[in-house]
Symmetry: C2
Subunit: 502 residues, 2 copies
């Protein structure tokens, strides 16, 4: 083995141990740690994170990475190449950021999180405004520093942020894609709202116990072929997936006693994220390669949640499970009614509770605002008013206060560029869904008793190379085409035209 | 501050961070980690444990501790003094143990655990015998090495092991105490068995759901004044308590659908351990002082479980909670019947499932066997036969196989000397219970809606100084007397004479 790579791998083993401890402690924080214990645990998490960070910022280590990057050639296996390429790119990105700046940035985001929590509770954007301005300043500063490095050069400040979540993505790409979405989705929404189709949704809020929901959740995970010898499920306020180790990928959900579908679709969504990790090549771990982009990840989770999970075939399967675990929910409800209720379109204020159709608008609004801040210097004081205006324009709803408006998501406490990946996930998965349809009888697979056939296709085509390819290489190899919104928009149009008899 | 102490405290802060990470990862392993993830997580736990261990074995650090110990005088606060005394004693104990031996010992106990697990599953002592012999060899070796250090000198090899769990305790003390127990408990058990009192226990195995048991568990914890902002409860195969941090003390329980009392009393027992930690002086943490002995700890947990938890007043309180959470259990059952069922005496094979009365025999049997191995060279091959003989002699029951016989507990995979602490806990708590009775109206306190008054008394008299005193100093200060079995035996005799109308 190359001597530089050998030295790098040795450090990475240590890095992995520290990271593992951090992930376990973080997971513990979000699932079980008592309130009063969080501060001390947070300090220890910060300590171990920093120990891990220091390993990667060590000058000798960085020199080894640079040397390995320069020596790398076709004789290397593709895992090592992807890993070194990724490490080197990461180093380049942070090369102009001094430890002092790094500390300052960490303080900014920590304070932003604390301010946001309080502001959200008080439904008062004013309490978050100063912090948001600092976060914007930080992101602009990072963009400016990266622009000094020729290999990283992009067209607009916001593009540097996008690149962290979806390598190669630009505001120009997104303007085009979201423009196409608006062009087709806005009139379609108007037609849906004008339709006289009545969908009953009363039974979605029938009372259920936690035990009933838990039983359903495990049934669904089992049906998804989620291997619980290599994973676990528990509860947290916001559902998430956590990849602890090669044989330990966990998901969480939450249980509301008047909204069984919330937990159900959290399980399907997080289960998708988890399957992606559990079915990645084991070599990724051996080569310290963990390079899936958020767009790739969201494409998979939302594929399971929507394409599969909200399909008529899946709803039929789940209906039977619901009838077993919580019979009161489907008493007097037909399978057709169940499917339609799951897919009812209701413009609303909260992104995480929105339906498959209107979800994209929530993303577009956030995208347009954050781009405006970074690329056109929008004063963050204008955010609440702009938010309100756009919700009225795109969805016809008006937030009463900032809590259900621009303070609903925590993402901006970290920085900008994350939100678009949710929508990109929808574009990617609609594209590979169209290929899958030609090769797999999807409805038959869903009705076969487990998602084994679906998973097998995903494993072969979608999951295998995700960590070794840029999103562009990846989607082009799977579908033979570059990113487009067409498949997604066709899919949405076909599905909802049928449901609403348009 | 003393310069040595300053240096020591700095290292201890780092030690605490590593230990915290280890505790969280260990807790995670026992509560949520999936099967296939355990091996990798076990390796990382071993890594961080060793990093922590290395900090304490560092030569400069050890020299600082020795210097601090020698400089220490009455001008130091008592927390620092207890801490340094404890550290120095720990160093002395391991001073003759080389790193090679230490590694060898760790391998021995790890292999012993693996062998024991397999042997227990197969109910075949033969599969554990060789490992048990090695564990015995290890403990004899440690005893021999410590005997070379004048300050640590004890009378018999087994005494060195006892000292690790209960400082100052000797086989001579235990022979006396357990001799007294046998003298009074053996004839009492015969009288109980000859009594014609019929206690109905059918309802103890009525079916209950996990949700019902969980509801009861939280009701009980709340009633115990267990602050869940500073603690948490979840499930594990074997219930345990874990002190993560000064404001984070967690307990676990398990739920069986045909034995609600098993979870109930696990909660009360572990809740007792937890209250002890949660109500220790905050200064203990600031001074890195965590020096409660197992006997002290078990005295508290068993005080809550038995003295309080199996009292008639508590059973009445719990009866009402059970009637609310799982009404089917007490349908047609009177409060008197409930109390008597909880306290029925049934000689049985399994320690952890035994009643308050027969529990002591389980401990005596283990004590007599482990003492025989260490002090009289009993061949471990004789253990199963001796075990059987003693169970027949003391309890009149015969294990069919080793799984329900000498393989039931995991303690011997680590070494000897632990078991007696359970019984010592009973002696201590009966002694302070007699003082408490004079100062607190215990029945009234139990019926007052919470255990606040009981806890307050425990805090003032039992918990406050436990980490700063040897067990002997501690029990003498609380009760004005030295350790005796009399209070415990009187308590048992009075309680069971009444229940069985003797």
């Amino acid at each position: 083995m190359n001597q530089h790579l050998e030295a790098i791998n040795k450090t990475m083993e240590l890095f992995e141990r520290y990271s593992h401890a951090v992930r376990i402690m973080q997971y513990d924080m979000e699932t079980i740690c008592p309130k009063e214990g969080m501060e001390a645990q947070g300090e220890d998490i910060a300590f171990f994170s920093n120990e891990a960070f220091k390993l990667l910022k060590d000058e000798t280590f960085m020199a080894e990475v640079e040397a390995a990057y320069k020596e790398m050639d076709d004789s290397w296996n593709e895992f090592d190449r992807a890993f070194i390429r990724d490490m080197y790119r990461g180093q380049l990105k942070s090369s102009k950021i001094t430890p002092e700046m790094n500390l300052e940035f960490a303080r900014t985001t920590q304070k932003a999180f604390a301010d946001w929590s309080r502001a959200k509770e008080a439904a008062d954007f004013g309490m978050f405004q100063e912090s948001l301005a600092k976060v914007a300043e930080k992101d602009c500063k990072v963009a400016a520093l990266r622009s000094e490095i020729p290999e990283l050069k992009r067209d607009t400040p916001y593009d540097y942020m996008l690149d962290d979540y979806e390598e190669g993505m630009t505001a120009a790409d997104l303007d085009r894609i979201f423009g196409e979405c608006k062009e087709r989705l806005v009139p379609l929404l108007q037609r849906i709202q004008a339709s006289d189709k009545k969908i009953r949704t009363d039974f979605l809020s029938r009372k259920v116990t936690e035990a009933q929901q838990k039983e359903l959740a495990y049934k669904v995970l089992n049906y998804m072929n989620y291997d619980l010898n290599r994973g676990a499920m528990t509860t947290s306020e916001h559902p998430f997936t956590s990849e602890m180790a090669v044989d330990d990928v966990r998901i969480t959900t939450h249980y509301y006693d008047d909204a069984f579908a919330s937990s159900l679709y959290s399980v399907v969504h997080e289960g998708g994220h988890g399957l992606f990790e559990l079915n990645a090549p084991r070599e990724n771990w051996e080569h310290h390669l963990a390079n899936k982009t958020m767009g790739q990840h969201e494409s998979v989770s939302r594929f399971y949640e929507n394409m599969i999970g909200r399909s008529e075939a899946f709803c039929d399967v789940v209906y039977d499970m619901v009838a077993e675990c919580m019979p009161q929910v489907v008493e007097g409800v037909s399978k057709k009614e169940f499917y339609e209720a799951i897919n009812t379109v209701t413009p609303s204020l909260i992104r995480t509770e929105s339906d498959e159709f209107t979800y994209t608008f929530h993303i577009i609004i956030r995208y347009e605002i954050e781009k405006e801040i970074m690329n056109n210097g929008l004063d963050v004081a204008e955010v609440p008013a702009l938010w309100k205006k756009k919700y009225e324009e795109y969805l016809g709803v008006t937030p009463d206060n900032d809590k259900v408006g621009c303070l609903q998501d925590m993402h901006w406490t970290e920085g900008f560029g994350y939100f678009p990946t949710y929508a990109l996930g929808n574009m990617y998965n609609a594209m590979y869904y169209n290929r899958m349809k030609k090769e797999v009888d999807i409805d038959a697979a869903i009705k076969s008793g487990s998602l084994a056939d679906i998973n097998a296709w995903m494993c072969e085509h979608v999951w295998k190379k995700a960590d070794r390819q840029t999103p562009k290489e990846w989607i082009t190899e799977i579908t033979g085409r570059e990113l487009t919104s067409k498949d997604f928009l066709d899919y949405i149009e076909e599905k909802y035209t049928k449901i609403y008899n348009l």
